[in-house]
Structures are given as structure tokens and as C-alpha cells.
Amino acid sequence: MHLNFQMTDDILIASAVGELDHHSAGTVRTEIDETMDAFQCRHLIFDFEKVTFMDSSGIGVVLGRYNKVTKKGGRVFLASCSEFVEKILYMAGIFSIVDKQKNVEDAICLLNGQKQMEMEVSASGE
């Protein structure tokens, strides 16, 4: 498995390609964490479109990132999950805490919409 990273503002998009299991989970974890820290990203979007296999190790990876990102006030999104990946994440109840979006664009839209609202709230508060 390898990861492709993309950034827009304070959003990191991590596109995973290949098989996510216990073996690959280690590098996925550290690569995402290090990139988030290095570029001071606040939000994280997992792009799972090109994930060809995933077992319960993937649940740990998503939950672990969720805990880290939300601790710093960010949000985590899952985008483009296959039916199969979704099934496994669903078993663990992931979607009750992590938002699922059809694709990366929708997730970015939602985050930007939220930012817009935050700005309006702070503007009207002044």
C-alpha cells in the first residue's frame, strides 16, 4: 500500500492505494501523522477509492487518526469507500463518529461550508 497526499488550506487528503492490513497499517499511520504535523493540517480526509483490500487493521487506523485529529479540533472524513470497506467500518460503528462522503470533493465542500459558517459566526459576534 502507498499513500498520495494532497493539501488544500488546512485539509490533508490522504489517498490510499492498495491493501490495508496489519502489515501496511504501521506505515500508513506514521506517514499520515507525520504529514499532518509537518504541515499543521487541521482536518483529514481519507480517500479510500483505491483501497483493494482492508481488514480490521483499517478500523484501528481510522479510529486512531480520529482521536488525534479531533483532539486538536479538526474533523475526519471518509471518502469513496467501496461497499466492502464500508461493511467492515460499519461493523465497528465508525460512521457514528466519522462522516462518510461520496467523494473527496463533497467532503471538501462540507468542510469549507463549515468554515464559512464559523467565519460568519465570529464576524457577527464582533
Binding site: 492490513d21 502489515h23 504501521g26 479510529l63
Partner: protein
Amino acid sequence: MKLQFSARAENEAFARSAAAAFVACLDPTIEELTEIKTGVSEAVSNSIIHGYGENPNEMVTLECRIRAGGKVVITVRDEGVGIEDVEKAREPMFTTGKTEERSGMGFTVMESFMDKVEVVSRTGEGTAVTMTKQLDISYGL
């Protein structure tokens, strides 16, 4: 089919691919193949992580059998630390994994993708997980 391999994480992909290749002659659906691969991946990584603490000098055994009517029986065996309380270990979210991010969902995933999951384990002796799955083969065969 019987396969023995060292308890290294790299071998997880090898083990599940071997199982998939073995059952391919039954002409399974993509879905059935993915479910079998996932079950094998869960059991094998448990042996490597929990059974052996990723000690590459230890060996994991994978056995696959095909029974009449397209029934697949897969056993993953280790001679590792064993499980103290199997019933508890099988509960969703139960995990003893501390150093890594384990979710305790491995057994739950195996149970939902395979028809039957049997666990025989003894502390200090090891663990054998046997998973059974009836493939939906057409009657013409």
C-alpha cells in the same frame, strides 16, 4: 493445502492470496473471495501479533480444504501464547493489543464473513481457528 510461514507481517498478504488461489477452482464470486481473504487475514494477523508477538522465528500454519458441494474449511494455527478466555476474546471490541491501534473487531469480522468460526486455544500451547464457508456454487456443476 497446507502452508507454513514465518510470523512476519509481510506474510499476511501471502497467506490470504494463497487461500484465494486455492479456492479459485470452485469459481467463487468476487465477494466470496474477498470474504475468505479477509477471514484468513484476520486469523493470520492474530497469530502473528497476539500468538507470537511478531517473532519471525515462529511459524504459522494455514490449512485449506474443499469439501463436497463447495464447502471451504480453513484452519489457521499457531503454537503461541494461547487465549485465556476465548468467549471474551470473541466479543466485539475486546482487545489485549496495547502498543498498536487494535480495535478488537477481528473475530467479529471473521464471524460475519464466514459461516462458522471455531476457536480452540490453550494458554501456553497455542490457538487454532477453523472457519467454514459454503460457497454458492451453481447446481450445474
